[in-house]
């Protein structure tokens, strides 16, 4: 948290259908100058039980970062449903927005995500193979869980 301070994260297009991209609108403040780019990535937790099912939805470099307030929009592809175990597709899971500097993660914002069918009928009787077009994805962006990690900045 020392050189970069995250001030705001907005998630546009929320809720939306499962196959739509995640759009993070991120504002942060750079308190002291940093030389290298920041690396931002979004990880979708496919299955809570198993880390192997985590999907890195996208990863970008951000730079150069000027001292002061900065803002950018990070749009990432939706997760690949095939890589998610069927049982874990619906229900609550987690998506992480992580920023790293020089390869070390220093902040991780986690959001709960709820996947459910739009229609009540399908909610009660879910089909065997999930119908992605009918699943609504809702990110609980009002309750982010922010974790910071100490890293070496220079």
């Amino acid at each position: 948290m020392s050189h970069i301070r995250l001030t705001q994260v907005l998630i546009h297009n929320n809720p939306s259908s499962f196959n739509s991209p995640f759009i993070f609108d991120i504002s942060f403040e750079c308190v002291s100058p940093i030389k290298e780019d920041l690396e931002w990535k979004v990880i979708y937790v496919g299955s809570a039980a198993n880390e192997k099912n985590d999907q890195v939805l996208d990863s970008i470099l951000l730079g150069p970062v000027a001292v002061g307030q900065n803002q950018f929009v990070f749009e990432v592809d939706p997760p690949d449903a095939n890589k998610i175990p069927k049982d874990d597709l619906l229900g609550v899971t987690v998506v992480f927005l992580i920023c790293a500097y020089k390869g070390e993660d220093f902040i991780r914002v986690g959001y709960y995500v709820n996947n459910d069918y739009f229609e009540q009928e399908l909610k009660d009787n879910p089909p065997e193979t999930p119908d992605l077009s009918k699943i609504q994805r809702n990110v609980m962006d009002d309750k982010p869980v922010v974790t910071g990690f100490p890293i070496q900045w220079n």
């Binding site: 504002s27 982010p144 974790t147």
Partner: protein, 1075 residues
């Protein structure tokens, strides 16, 4: 008495190591083993009803991902603005309340990190703010204590004396000392004036024992330190160490295990029974989990709590009402106790009583203001802490005291401009910029740049919104719902009813530095040399107040660009509009008219490729029209691409555009003080164009030149110029000369004209030729005069000549202009001659000004870009001297340069000079010491420049500032130099080797290197710029006396001054004869 243990104040069950109540009493901070800092509202703790009200938040803020280990100490600053936290992770962080919304929603208050103090090598055990808020001290297990100043949170000093972990700190409420306790069984008292150890107390601590912290405290009257961990005959005590001589006084006995923390109530009380007796309250917390309350008026403790806590007590904090306090413990809980005055045995004393009380103890050294707060040294002067009090520097002679007094009184008279930034002064919060508002995705998507890196990864460049907008404000007392406010008692609860929400929205200005609302630019009919920021700020203030909020709340980025383009159009159209206005007005009044632009006839051009064209484009020509050329010193850049340079000498690198050729030239010569008018123009551009400020009375002289052609017999064209000299519309004389006049100038005594073929004529006020047929080396581009005798001419290849018309002699002959980088891109903006001595002063388009000093034999550069790095710079708008005018222009110009280049980002390829904003940002990051060096250099330069420009008022002004600055920095060496120079030799008669050493060597440390002892060296001049050096010395001595550490030096000089002044008048041989 109320005893409460709020269950909801918890750090996840882990120990709470520190608790501190905010000075306004409405919130408290706790730091715990979970590495978090939590800020709670006090109302739910003290009032049951508020606690039960679900709507009132209890936890105002939880600072989580900040420290990575236990937070050992949290302390609010004395003014309540900041919270400092020290942790096992070796860091101390300073937190301020931000108006921005937190990333995590639903926190009532958003506390952000303002600074991180890195410096310790091990766990920080305690942090403590100095009572005047100028310093913060951190003690650590690395055996050191570090003192930081609170302006930029830079390290001031590192105190290394302890031999073991330093476990606690306490500042003297009077600011003179700092006490620290350590595991090495000692209590060390440090002097804050010079951070030297005052004394080490070890006597009562000679035992082993272990506790996390040893937290001492001072009584509010400063008389005692209550130290912890004392032992007396195998019983654990709290030890009272008295201020006078640091004697061990009483012991507070009773705890069964070591006393770990002592806290004195910040208030002084007066006894109910005997009203005169004042006492303090002391709380001790021990490892035996008991709290004991003591009063200095009673030999037995007032109260002991045994079962409030299960484990060792770690910290106690008094509420500012003096009757309640909070304690925290390793068992992870806090306890709140509130007492009644009867239980305490006394009531608080008022400010007047406090004043009397302190006066009794400390005399005049300590003063108390109306609200009962102690007043600390003025101007943040370190040395003022040393003045007065015990163990401080005492005045050694009555003169010193007298000078100090007169200095204190006369500070105001020296000028409000002095000492704007004292050493260690309190810093204002960073300029509040706009709160960051929502930025629609589309704009961001459009504007952020995206590239693909070689590895296939995307790389985005973020959009820079603005500089840090932390928006730190002083926290207001926490608001509680109205229906609960009536429950407050004045004695037990410290809350005040508040209508204002703690996180109110504030009206702020847009953060962009450029771009103004186009609707409200106040039309300036002046040149755009106008300080850009000044003008636009006015405009934007208006619009912000107007409440045109959509401008600010809407996507700023779009607005930014939009505004810029608007700006451009508006600006140029503006000029056109103002031109018309101006010429209309000109027609109406009978003042001079500048129709040059309109009546230029296209000349057949023979452009020589060797001549370097100026970069000045249409933009600058617009500038010309707006110039007020009503004073005869304002100069305009002439630009005429049609003109031809025919030079007899090859251009050595300078080429200055020649004046445009027209058929009519008109110039007005007035008797008006040059400088104030010019200064008015530049500093107050929003004033209406001053056609009215030129007085009609007195010296309204106009020279009109008419150029006619005549065709001669051999079909060549010959030009004739008719010069008419008009005064109030009546023609005084008329002259007709051959040749085409290009430039004219003059004053009330004479006027000068030069023709195309480089002939210079000078006429007196009746039209008689004073001098004529002077042919400079080349065609002239500038012709200027001062108001008395001097004429300045600058040739197109950059040579300067100055003549004294009265004496008909040359002052300066063909001096080439000084070296300039990028001379191709520069033009001469302004040229003038000083009044007295006729020194030419040239100002270039980049803002640099030069003056030629014949003593030096060279050009002297007046402006100093890097002056912004010093604490003072030439932004001294109250000074109206010539030095400041020139330096102001430079600053204004460079601000404009940097701003215009901000707008025109595309054209910003080569920015030769770093813009002022860049330099300013550099200055912010400079350390104190570097700043000091820059500043003293800067001031010395100013003195020299004032000398060169022969501006005695400014010399004196800067001398005073310089002295004051050196006094503040205690720079004895430089001050000695200065005084020696001003003092001079013991006798001005000893120019012939008779070294009369009367009082020459009294105590002066420079005897050996006395510069005046050798008669062959240059004689000392007793005056500088007409001011007597010794009387200057006399004036600055009292200023230096303001710093008592210099008093010896001041005394010596004063003695010498007195002695020497007498010597000047008396012939030493007289006294011999008369003996």
């Amino acid at each position: 008495m109320k005893i409460l243990k709020p269950q909801w104040v918890t750090h996840g069950g882990l120990s709470i190591y520190s608790v501190d109540i905010h000075p306004d009493g409405t919130r408290m901070a706790t730091g715990g083993g979970d590495a978090k800092i939590k800020i709670w509202s006090m109302a739910p703790i003290s009032l049951l009803e508020v606690e039960e009200d679900a709507g009132t938040p209890k936890l105002l803020c939880s600072i989580e991902n900040a420290h990575f280990h236990s937070v050992n100490s949290v302390k609010w600053s004395k003014d309540g603005k900041y919270l400092a936290s020290g942790s096992d992770d070796k860091l101390c962080m300073i937190w301020g309340l931000s108006n921005n919304n937190s990333l995590i929603k639903n926190t009532t208050e958003n506390w952000v990190c303002v600074a991180t103090l890195r410096g310790h090598a091990s766990d920080i055990s305690e942090v403590s703010w100095s009572p005047d808020n100028k310093y913060i001290a951190t003690s650590s297990f690395d055996k050191t204590i570090i003192i930081w100043e609170t302006n930029k949170f830079q390290m001031v000093s590192k105190l290394e004396e302890h031999k073991g972990f330093v476990k606690g700190l306490a500042w003297d409420p009077l600011g003179r000392y700092l006490a620290s306790q350590s595991e090495d069984k000692s209590l060390i008292i440090w002097r804050t004036s010079d951070w030297v150890v005052e004394t080490i107390v070890t006597e009562p601590f000679k035992h082993s024992g272990n506790s996390f912290f040893l937290r001492p405290s001072w009584t509010p009257d400063g008389q005692f330190i209550v130290a912890t961990h004392g032992i007396n005959n195998a019983t654990h005590t709290g030890v009272l160490v008295s201020r006078t001589d640091w004697d061990i006084g009483l012991d507070l006995v009773g705890h069964r295990k070591a006393v770990v923390v002592s806290r004195c109530s910040p208030k002084i009380y007066k006894d109910f029974k005997s009203r005169d007796q004042k006492f303090c309250l002391i709380l001790l917390g021990g490892q035996d989990s008991t709290l004991s309350l003591w009063s200095s008026s009673s030999p037995r403790s007032l109260m002991v709590t045994r079962s409030l806590f299960d484990q060792c007590i770690q910290d106690i904090s008094w509420c500012s009402d003096g009757y309640s306090f909070v304690a925290c413990s390793t068992d992870g809980t806090v306890g709140y106790i509130s007492l009644d005055p009867e239980e305490v045995g006394g009531s608080l004393i008022g400010p007047e009583e406090k004043q009397i009380f302190f006066k009794n103890y400390y005399g005049d050294a300590v003063t108390v203001d109306k609200e009962g707060n102690l007043i600390y040294g003025t101007n943040g002067n370190l040395s003022s802490a040393a003045n007065g009090g015990s163990h401080a520097i005492l005045p050694e002679n009555p003169d010193q005291l007298a000078m100090e007094e007169s200095n204190a009184n006369g500070v105001g008279s020296v000028g409000g401009t002095i000492n704007q930034s004292g050493v260690g002064g309190e810093n204002d919060p960073k300029n509040p910029n706009s709160t960051s508002t929502l930025q629609p995705t589309q704009l961001a998507m459009q504007n952020q740049k995206q590239t693909i890196m070689p590895g296939g990864k995307r790389r985005i460049t973020p959009i820079f919104i603005g500089s840090s907008s932390q928006n730190i404000t002083k926290p207001q007392p926490v608001a509680i719902p109205l229906h609960l406010q009536q429950l407050q008692h004045s004695s037990s609860s410290p809350l005040k009813p508040m209508e204002i929400e703690s996180s109110s929205t504030t009206v702020t200005l847009a953060s962009t530095t450029t771009g103004a609302t186009s609707t409200t630019i106040t039309p300036t009919k002046m040149t755009p040399m106008v300080p850009f920021g000044l003008n636009k700020l006015n405009g934007r203030l208006d619009s912000a107040v107007d409440g045109s909020n959509d401008r600010f709340s809407h996507p700023r980025i779009r607005d930014h660009q939009h505004k810029d383009s608007n700006n451009h159009h508006h600006k140029s159209s503006h000029h056109d509009k103002s031109d018309k206005d101006k010429s209309d007005r000109d027609d109406q009044s009978s003042s001079s008219r500048h129709n040059k632009r309109r009546t230029v006839e296209p000349e057949p051009t023979i452009s020589i490729t060797s001549s370097k064209k100026k970069k000045s484009s249409g933009g600058s020509s617009n500038k010309q029209q707006n110039d007020q050329i009503q004073q005869n010193t304002a100069q305009y850049i002439n630009n005429n691409s049609n003109n031809v340079i025919i030079s007899t000498v090859s251009a050595p690198g300078f080429s200055i555009p020649l004046p445009t050729l027209t058929n009519k030239i008109s110039k007005k010569l007035i008797d008006q003080p040059i400088q104030t008018a010019a200064l008015n123009n530049r500093l107050f551009p929003t004033m209406t164009p001053n056609t009215t400020t030129t007085p009609g009375i007195g010296g309204s002289i106009i020279i009109d030149v008419n150029i006619t052609e005549q065709e001669l017999q051999d079909n060549t064209v010959e030009y004739f110029s008719v010069i008419r000299y008009l005064s109030f519309e009546t023609q005084l004389w008329e002259n007709r000369i051959a040749g085409r006049i290009t430039l004219i100038t003059g004053n009330k005594n004479w006027c000068a004209a030069t023709t195309l073929d480089s002939l210079l004529y000078i006429f007196n006020k009746n039209g008689t030729i004073i001098m004529s047929n002077i042919v400079p080396r080349n065609q002239l581009s500038f012709l200027e005069s001062n108001r008395t005798n001097h004429l300045l001419a600058i040739t197109c290849d950059g040579f300067v000549c100055v003549w004294n018309v009265l004496k008909k002699k040359v002052e300066l002959s063909n001096r080439e202009l000084p070296f300039l980088k990028n001379r191709d891109n520069l033009t001469i903006k302004h040229a003038m001659v000083t009044e007295e001595s006729g020194k030419p002063i040239i100002t270039f388009s980049n803002g640099d000004s030069f003056v030629y000093s014949s003593d030096v034999g060279e050009w002297v550069k007046i402006t100093d870009r890097l002056g912004v790095l010093s604490e003072y710079n030439s932004n001294d708008t109250t000074n109206t001297g010539i030095l400041s005018t020139l330096q102001n222009n430079n600053r204004i110009n460079s601000i404009i340069n940097s701003n215009t280049s901000n707008i025109n980002n595309q054209q910003q390829q080569q920015q030769q000079q770093p813009s002022v904003s860049n330099l300013l940002s550099l200055s912010n990051s400079e350390s104190q010491q570097q700043q000091q060096l820059s500043t003293s250099l800067f001031l010395e330069k100013q003195l020299w420049l004032a000398q060169v420009l022969e501006s005695s008022l400014e010399y004196k002004h800067w001398l005073l500032i310089y002295t004051k600055y050196l006094t503040n920095c205690c720079n004895i060496v430089k001050l000695t130099d200065l005084c020696t120079d001003l003092l001079g030799p013991s006798s001005t008669l000893n120019l012939n080797g008779n070294n009369h050493h009367h009082n020459h060597t009294t105590g002066m440390s420079m005897e050996n290197t006395n510069p005046f002892s050798n008669s062959l060296s240059t004689p000392w001049e007793s005056t500088i710029l007409g001011l007597s050096k010794r009387s200057l010395l006399k004036e600055i001595l009292p200023i230096m006396a303001g710093n008592r550490t210099l008093q010896r030096m001041v005394g010596q000089f004063k003695e010498s001054l007195n002695a020497f002044s007498k010597n000047v008048l008396i012939d030493p041989f007289d006294t011999l004869l008369n003996k």
